[in-house]
Symmetry: C2
Subunit: 313 residues, 2 copies
Amino acid sequence: MRTLIIGAAGMIGRKLAARLPKDDLILHDVVPFDGASVVSDLSAPGEAEKLIARRPELIFHLAAVVSGEAEADFDKGYRVNLDGTRELFEAIRKANYKPRVVFTSSIAVFGAPFPEAIGDEFLNAPLTSYGTQKAIGELLLSDYSRRGFFDGIGLRLPTICVRPGKPNKAASGFFSGIIREPLAGQEAVLPVPETVRHWFASPRAAIGFLLHAAKLDTEKLGARRNLSMPGVSATVGEQIEALRKVAGEKTAGLIRREPDATIMRIVEGWPRNFDTRRALALGFRADAAFEDIIRIHIEDEVQKSSAPQPGRG
Amino acid sequence: MRTLIIGAAGMIGRKLAARLPKDDLILHDVVPFDGASVVSDLSAPGEAEKLIARRPELIFHLAAVVSGEAEADFDKGYRVNLDGTRELFEAIRKANYKPRVVFTSSIAVFGAPFPEAIGDEFLNAPLTSYGTQKAIGELLLSDYSRRGFFDGIGLRLPTICVRPGKPNKAASGFFSGIIREPLAGQEAVLPVPETVRHWFASPRAAIGFLLHAAKLDTEKLGARRNLSMPGVSATVGEQIEALRKVAGEKTAGLIRREPDATIMRIVEGWPRNFDTRRALALGFRADAAFEDIIRIHIEDEVQKSSAPQPGRG
């Protein structure tokens, strides 16, 4: 099946591409990357049409300007995240075939105040431009699917943890940092209290969601094409306790508390817990516990990137 | 206060204009009409900027391609209802002042299945392109307000009843027709069973919502700028009973039952009842009962448009 990944240079895009047959795979991003088939700006006139010209039957639309950048650069966020998505959907409509479209949305479509757990019928009231753009993408996806222009499904991914790579300045960065850095023998800064609760999925679980969405019977979705994905709800304290169990006291001791009021204020507006019964009934599967999220990081990132590994104990 | 009404040629626009001081009122529509200040297509390049050039401090954005037309003409619906709204919001942002913007949304942002009464935290899952476009307008309104580009408030109007004028082909037309036509001594067709329940406001109540929104302290809204307006939930049977009470058995006898499976299927997807506690707490007031909706129609339309009237009995 001809498959197109838009946003293939990103962490999720690369991991997804590695799981798909290479023979008819089109990899797209706006930035050049190793293995790229097409490099272009999706929101520029005519580019979406070119991308769809080979009529891929399966399209993963993962591309987005991330939260912090969409907040800092209003025009760029709307151009890429809204116009780019709409250009893609329009190009598919005009090509007049009906591919499966898997769209990555985000829990940023939700904004406080929240119930104890966010259910499948809770309103989208985003508190960022990024969340607004994703919520609009969801609405377009549902309408284009309802009209029969394509067969879409939108997945609201939990915060991906442990995100591999270098620390970054995203407000959410510490959720991964407090696991990743200590496992690498480095100190990590924790800017919020241990009582802060958040919603997580491993990169491996996220790829599982995307692959499951690609082959799901969308008749079962009805008109509501967007789903909050299952995840693990954990407090920072529970994250640290899991790290202690998996990697020992010394590793967990590399976390330094350094409260940051600005980050705390941002994080307070974020979802803490979900009731994802629709996604679970449709067969989407989360990590079992935060300890597993740490073990997956060790297996997929720490062991693979190091010199010859000892077997797991 | 300089006030702009966009969509001023429509029924609500005309009634609203009649309630506002004439001296600094800009009336806009895409169709020429008596009293128009500007006639232009809001979605055409540069037109929104021209409309905002005089920097109206209060803007009512009522313009929309209606539900049936937006469903029949996909491109036109998105161009007018989404692009037109976005052009307006962008023009305001670029003019760099902070007017009050009152946007009319619709209960069409909701789609079945519904709870017994739709609360303030129920998801927007529209089942029409019109509802999708309104839901996107709501998201943009919230984000532009959050960013401080304007001070917006969106009102999800109930179905306006009794809509004055001629019968039309809208699927919802019968809700007004079964009151309006009998009161004019004419037969009306009822295409659905009397058990069908729906959500109503009189034109007078709708104008009241708009005027209240124009002067509301928006600090009280927080980040959630869109509100379902209060209304009267009534079954068709209750509508007919109210007509009987207000205008007598002979008038109510002018309703002819003629079931229409297509209309029934459309109406089944529509909201029946709401719990609008946020709007009520903010001082928005609905009609007290369906009988009052009929009396308002008689006072505002039947008596005003007829020859010299006897006083109300």
